[in-house]
Symmetry: C3
Subunit: 136 residues, 3 copies
């Protein structure tokens, strides 16, 4: 069985954001077991899982990725859309845009410390569209 | 329901290549909704999604990853297969070899700017084998 | 159809470990075709696929990622759990915690040189919990 919903996430500022509840609150009743796939329909944002407790983790993510791929990189050829654009594309493919999470006992089967992150790489990314597919 | 096909991609030169049409043109009629998984059966190539319009994005990807993991890295121990081999393995796991895309209304539900990239990390990677699995 | 099992991997030392057999030996009879998803329920470890023959590849992975994100990074704010903790979180999201592999002819359809890696990023990560979901 397949169930699918589209979610529009409101604009988030550049950075890594814990959105587990934003996702879970919009889900239909989940099947007993299966897979939930989260797919973000953009090339300058990403979806990942990481530590759900201490916000300094998310801040360190932002700092690390800005140092790894600085906005100020001089040799980028793709720079017509702003100096945060090409770094955003690279970060998006490094982290990834598609995430599959097991469903067990009609719940997302995340580990104790796992939360879902929206990774917003643009300074003004605006609203983000996500497709959620539930396979069972 | 599961449908599965094997695709042999012809040899692509080292770099990032937009292959959305190469993939879509070989697909059977897709189900109303579901997930399409693309899996590349190699450890020196990868599959990702990124910007589908401006080829400078793909060129900047190639330059960035070559700077992140230079072929000239002197401390690699695994170098018997050429100096592009160990960088290729690392890039392959950073980008990833398995990609799941939602199917909606019998089409790949990609965002406006999203295209599928073959990431060829070897100088002479040759033909690449891909398994596509459609779940519905 | 969905089948799901939980696996507890014994403690592995920090590094990249080939666990294809550890996984395959615990699987139930696989369906004719489908997808097998491996999900690690932690934020300081990861699952990937890479070269299954030469152990120097795994050693070079460990060295590369330790150079990319050194334990000694001075500017991390999240450091209360040890200096290997924040690097582990970053590596976990760069490599990824969820991996989908095609099943063909009731076997994992891996390429000739592909093996499944457990990426253990903590000095003392202990036992790791994995959820395996089989969709067919």
């Amino acid at each position: 069985m397949v169930e699918q919903i589209e979610i529009h996430l409101p604009s988030h500022k550049r950075g890594f954001h814990l959105i587990t509840n934003e996702i879970v609150n919009r889900l239909p009743k989940l099947p007993q077991s299966g897979i939930l796939n989260i797919f973000i329909k953009h090339t300058s944002a990403a979806i990942t899982i990481n530590e759900n407790a201490d916000s300094t983790v998310r801040n360190d993510f932002e700092t690390f990725f800005n140092r790894l791929i600085p906005d100020s990189t001089s040799w980028f050829n793709h720079n017509s859309e702003g100096n945060d654009d090409m770094p955003a594309h690279l970060k998006s493919s490094i982290i990834g845009q598609s995430l599959s999470i097991p469903i067990t006992n009609s719940k997302l089967n995340l580990g104790t410390w796992q939360g879902i992150y929206l990774c917003e790489f643009r300074n003004n990314g605006g609203q983000r569209r996500i497709t959620i597919t539930i396979l069972s």
